[in-house]
């Protein structure tokens, strides 16, 4: 038996896979710009007077804070931007 999906559906699946691949690429290779972009998107949504659903959405968009436990071991070289302590400020 051969699987023969309509061409429109095939392109939709391909587009979804490509979007996932693009997300992985940006998350792994460009974590800094991604973080800035997420903050820039989330900030206007949490201003005073915004409805609750918009604030909830902003919390989802905003990147996780840098604090907390952090500092896990380097899991290979694709998450290098997160490993190691923050450079000292003093």
């Amino acid at each position: 038996m051969t699987l023969d999906l309509p061409i429109g559906l095939q392109y939709a699946i391909v587009a979804a896979v490509v979007l996932v691949a693009l997300w992985i690429f940006v998350r792994k290779q460009l974590p800094g710009p991604l973080r800035k972009a997420r903050i820039a998107l989330a900030t206007p949504l949490v201003r005073d007077g915004r409805p609750a659903w918009m604030r909830a959405l902003a919390r989802r968009i905003a990147p996780p804070s840098n604090g907390g436990t952090g500092g896990s071991a380097c899991g290979g070289c694709d998450n290098s931007s997160q490993c190691g302590p923050e450079p000292k400020k003093h």
Partner: protein, 619 residues
């Protein structure tokens, strides 16, 4: 709803190589890397643990320190964290000072220094089983009385080896108090250490007989170096001899999967993405997992055995001659797994000049991401036959490539030494641990971690780049009146053809040029990219499912294959390594210099290889 109480913060600290990380893993169920040499932990790690009483704790694993007067970056991290000066970190509530019970002469001095901080503390006599085996008798109660802090025996590598420590932590946490005994601020800690040893420890001999016997051979100026060369040589032979059967199985499985999926799906973009993109691309990389595991099984076993610091000692003179120090050995060795932990490990090098030299040459060590590329090219161009009485030629070439990376690193650091004004050398001070048989559990955990790291990369960045490259190789589609293969009209095809103008002197065709670009994100992607490019260029499904190795051996000249092998010895490292160099040096200029010199070296060495090979008739 009330806020949950913060758990008590405990910190594990002690001299390097006393088993802090093994104890951390035992207490928290974590799987941080452990090894039998100093300097494995260069940053603090945090985990959670719940004691038998049900109380919850936050446990910090701090970098090893010989003193709280720091001589290196990692010692400074430990000091600052203990004193509560580390930005964004509260000071620990209880210090757990871990000491190697077989080496109290060195470790007790640090305990005395930590005690002077006046914080609640516990002393964990780790490796107490090894001490007992050697006949070292420690009067634990006497030591506890003399130190004025609770002392407990632990065996970090044995299941339940830290149970007594957990119970003691509960008792101390319930009633934390500063040490009962304190010395004057100007007390001689060495003299106090000698007094404590005399009062509470009886030593049968300074080192075990077996250590002395082994060291007579393994640290010998000639036999020691010869043994090191033989060990390294045998490892690379084993990489080929042992991994091939499993690799053949994976290769056949991938090809069968590609054919099966191709035969079950009608032609279209989805079938092309699955067969030519994902299965061909990822299958081309995953086939090298057995070789990576064989290589790391040896490296982990050597790490655990205590042999590696001896190798550093043996190579110190050679490294000093090239402008590095023996302390560079561990960071450079770590770079064989990945340059990033290697670059981070340079924090244990006190001298900034030596540290910079080590950071700049670390990318020349052959990281595991290069192994798939080497294995593909060696499999395609080097015949698998025996030479010199039974040695596998492919294994010999792989050994040669690793050696070329090491020798190039020495040459580069030698040139840097010639350029700098301060030509002074710094003596190597290195603690030689006792030999021990590798713990099978730690070996298996280490291999499991390596396999997971590799598979995560295959399912993460390699998958992502393979899919994105497939898009670039597929769109835009060929026009109706096309005369060339469809891939030539794609965006990636056009970029590849444009890049051949730059790489033609190296003998690189447009397919190779395409593969070099995603290879900057992760070197193994060069293999999956080649697999996808050739699968999409194939005339039919059967040809597309063919393994990559015979395709390139038929399509490329030997000169091109050799030039690409040489390219990857020096290849400008992955972007993540650039980021690590920038972060560790704080300098864009240094990062640009590292990328620039590696690109220049790669280009010149590849061009030379190609041109010489062509003139010798290999073109």
């Amino acid at each position: 709803m009330s806020a949950q109480a913060e758990p008590l913060r405990l910190a594990l600290l002690g001299n390097p190589n006393c088993g802090k990380t093994a104890l951390f893993n035992q207490l928290t169920g974590s799987r941080q890397k452990v090894a039998n040499y100093a300097g494995v932990t260069v940053e603090r790690k945090e985990g959670r643990l719940v004691s038998p009483s049900g109380r919850s704790y936050a446990l910090l694993d701090l970098p090893g320190a010989y003193s709280l007067n720091p001589a290196s970056l990692d010692e400074a991290v430990t000091r600052d964290l203990c004193r509560g000066f580390y930005p964004g970190e509260a000071a620990p509530d209880v210090l757990v000072c871990v000491v190697d019970a077989t080496n109290l002469r060195l470790h007790l001095r640090f305990v005395l220094e930590v005690r002077q901080m006046g914080k609640p503390m516990i002393v964990a006599l780790n490796m107490s089983d090894a001490a007992a085996r050697r006949g070292i008798a420690i009067d634990r109660a006497g030591l506890e009385r003399e130190l004025g802090v609770p002392v407990v025996e632990t065996v970090a590598v044995r299941r339940n080896g830290a149970r007594a420590l957990l119970e003691l932590i509960d008792r101390v946490a319930a009633n934390p108090h500063p040490p009962a005994v304190q010395l004057p601020a100007d007390a001689d800690l060495h003299a106090e250490t000698r007094r404590l040893l005399g009062a509470t420890v009886s030593m049968p001999a300074r080192t075990a007989k077996i250590d002395d016997a082994l060291d007579r051979w393994l640290l010998h100026p000639f036999f020691g170096l010869a043994t090191l060369a033989v060990v390294m040589f045998l490892i690379f032979q084993a990489v080929y001899a042992w991994a091939t059967p499993v690799m053949d199985l994976i290769d056949a499985g991938t090809a069968a999967l590609g054919e099966w999926v191709g035969s079950r799906m009608a032609e279209g973009p989805l079938a092309s993405l699955l067969v030519d993109g994902i299965i061909a691309g990822l299958g081309g990389v995953i086939v090298f997992l057995p070789q990576i595991l064989v290589l790391f099984a040896f490296i982990l076993a050597l790490e655990e055995s205590g042999y590696l610091p001896r190798a550093a000692f043996l190579l110190d003179r050679m490294m000093a001659g090239a402008g590095l120090s023996g302390r560079s050995f561990i960071p450079l060795l770590s770079s064989f797994a990945c340059a990033i932990p290697g670059i981070m490990a340079t924090r244990s090098i006190q001298d900034p000049r030596d540290r910079l030299a080590t950071i700049l040459v670390a990318p020349l060590m052959t990281c595991s991401a290069r192994l798939p590329v080497y294995a593909l090219l060696i499999g395609a161009f080097i015949p698998s036959r025996e030479v010199w009485g039974g040695f596998n030629l492919q294994g010999l070439v792989l050994f040669g490539l690793y050696m070329a990376g090491i020798l190039s690193a020495l040459a580069v650091s030698w040139v840097m030494k010639k350029w700098r004004r301060d030509k002074g050398e710094h003596p190597l001070m290195l603690e030689l641990p006792s030999y021990r048989l590798p713990n099978p559990r730690d070996l298996l955990i280490g291999l499991w971690e390596r396999a997971l790291i590799f598979l995560k990369r295959v399912g993460g960045i390699i998958f992502a780049l393979t899919v994105l490259l497939w898009v670039l190789l597929t769109f835009p589609a060929a026009p109706p009146d096309a005369t060339l293969p469809a891939i030539d009209y794609s965006l990636a095809g056009r970029i590849g053809h444009a890049l051949t103008a730059v790489f033609a002197p190296l003998g690189f065709n447009w397919q190779i040029c395409i593969a070099l670009i995603p290879g900057l994100a992760a070197r193994e992607v060069a293999v999956s990219s080649l697999a996808t490019v050739y699968a999409l260029s194939a005339a039919d499904d059967e040809a597309a499912a063919q393994a990559l190795s015979p395709v390139i051996s038929d399509g490329w000249s030997l000169a091109t294959g050799l030039a690409l092998l040489v390219w990857f010895i020096y290849a400008p490292q992955c972007i993540a390594t650039w980021a690590a160099i920038k972060r560790e040096t704080g300098s864009w200029k240094t990062m640009a210099m590292a990328a620039g010199y590696l690109f220049a070296l790669a280009y010149l060495a590849s061009m030379l290889t190609y041109q010489v090979a062509v003139r010798l008739g290999a073109g």
